[in-house]
């Protein structure tokens, strides 16, 4: 049986030190045109990398936040009930007390004013459709409209 042993060894080599991979937990809506479907996939990928760069230090890579300091985005009522508001916050930041999933949070969030509308759309599409969130595609024109109506 040396051959079997050999394959077993190769298998062991491959799996031995590998870290567990990310769970696939992204929502894919089925009502998108073919063009938007491609865009949507691109936004998710770009959005994830922008999220890791600008957001996940506090909100964590799994979107769960940290203790009572940083609110969760995963299954967050505050995020999902008002996407336009969240769009404004992602770019302009936020100050003061808010309630997320019945828990109070009060840390100042700095905005990322350098983000372009496309980048905001990518981040928003990613966070609104990851970790159990199911919103659907958020386009650049959605973002443009939402940012024009931000409360000052």
């Amino acid at each position: 049986m040396p051959k079997n042993n050999f394959f077993a060894f190769i298998f062991l080599l491959i799996t031995a030190c590998a870290a567990p991979s990310d769970k696939k937990d992204t929502f894919i809506p089925d009502n998108l045109s073919r063009r938007d479907k491609t865009r949507y996939q691109q936004y998710l990928i770009k959005g994830k990398s922008l999220y890791r760069q600008h957001c996940s230090n506090c909100h964590q890579p799994d979107g769960r936040g940290l203790a009572s300091l940083y609110p969760p985005l995963a299954k967050s009522d505050y995020l999902m009930q008002d996407i336009p508001r969240a769009t404004c916050i992602s770019k302009n930041g936020q100050e003061g007390s808010i309630v997320v999933n019945n828990k109070e949070y009060n840390m100042k969030m700095p905005g990322v004013p350098t983000l372009t509308n496309l980048e905001v759309a990518e981040i928003m599409t990613y966070i609104a459709n990851s970790w159990g969130n199911e919103y659907g595609f958020i386009s650049v024109s959605d973002v443009k409209k939402n940012l024009e109506n931000c409360a000052q």
């Binding site: 050999f6 230090n57 964590q60 949070y105």
Partner: protein
């Protein structure tokens, strides 16, 4: 052939495991050499690097000095609450250290704010409460800004300074420092890396074990 494969398999398993050697942690820092006169003769004394005297105020307005940590080893770091970059990661990792030694009275944590103007006692108190930590174990201290920067640079050997161009307005190191009961630095770890903090948690146990042997 079979033998070799089995041997290799064992090697792979061993190489992925953790090395659990017992060894003494080094004493870090440059020792000071001081001249001393004994019976008319000049001799050189070597004084190991030690954390200088300090006095800061923690989130409960309690005065925290070196003697707060008598009989304890502690982990020190530098941060500020409004920091958007590495501090949240550091706090998440420090929270792991906190949880690992929550019930061990021989271990304490000391976080210095480098933005004492914004991070008042009241703000640190709120921050600590939101993090869900006990002040008896994890002191978040504020104080005279110059004193905090000075002890950071000269005692803990980390960088802390204002820098208007950095996000949040300050630059600082993400290091965690392990300080023993003799006020000496026994390890420096990157507080933004999970692996490094795993090592810190192990090193704390090693350090405590070395006291137990005495």
């Amino acid at each position: 052939m079979n033998k070799w494969i089995n041997l290799l398999t064992v090697l792979v398993i061993i190489s992925c495991g953790e090395v659990q050697n017992k060894f003494e942690l080094p004493v870090l820092g440059r020792p000071k050499i001081v001249e001393r006169e004994v019976n008319g003769k000049i001799t050189n004394d070597t004084i190991p690097h030690m954390i200088a005297d300090f006095s800061f105020v923690d989130q409960d307005s309690a005065v925290i000095t070196n003697s707060t940590f008598d009989g304890q080893v502690y982990v020190a770091d530098f941060f500020f609450t409004s920091c958007p970059t590495i501090c949240p990661i550091m706090k998440k990792q420090m929270l792991r250290v906190y949880e690992a030694f929550e019930s061990n009275p021989q271990v304490a944590l000391l976080s210095h704010t480098i933005d004492p103007e914004y991070d008042t006692v009241a703000l640190l108190n709120d921050f600590a409460n939101r993090l869900g930590i006990k002040s008896s174990k994890w002191h978040m201290v504020t104080g005279d800004k110059e004193k905090i920067y000075e002890i950071g640079e000269t005692s803990y050997m980390v960088i802390a300074d204002e820098d208007p161009t950095a996000p949040g307005g300050f630059i600082h190191s993400g290091a965690f420092l392990l300080i023993d009961k003799e006020r000496q630095i026994r390890g420096i770890y990157d507080g933004t890396k999970e692996d490094d903090v795993n090592l810190l948690i192990k090193d704390i146990s090693r350090l405590l074990a070395s006291y137990a042997e005495e």
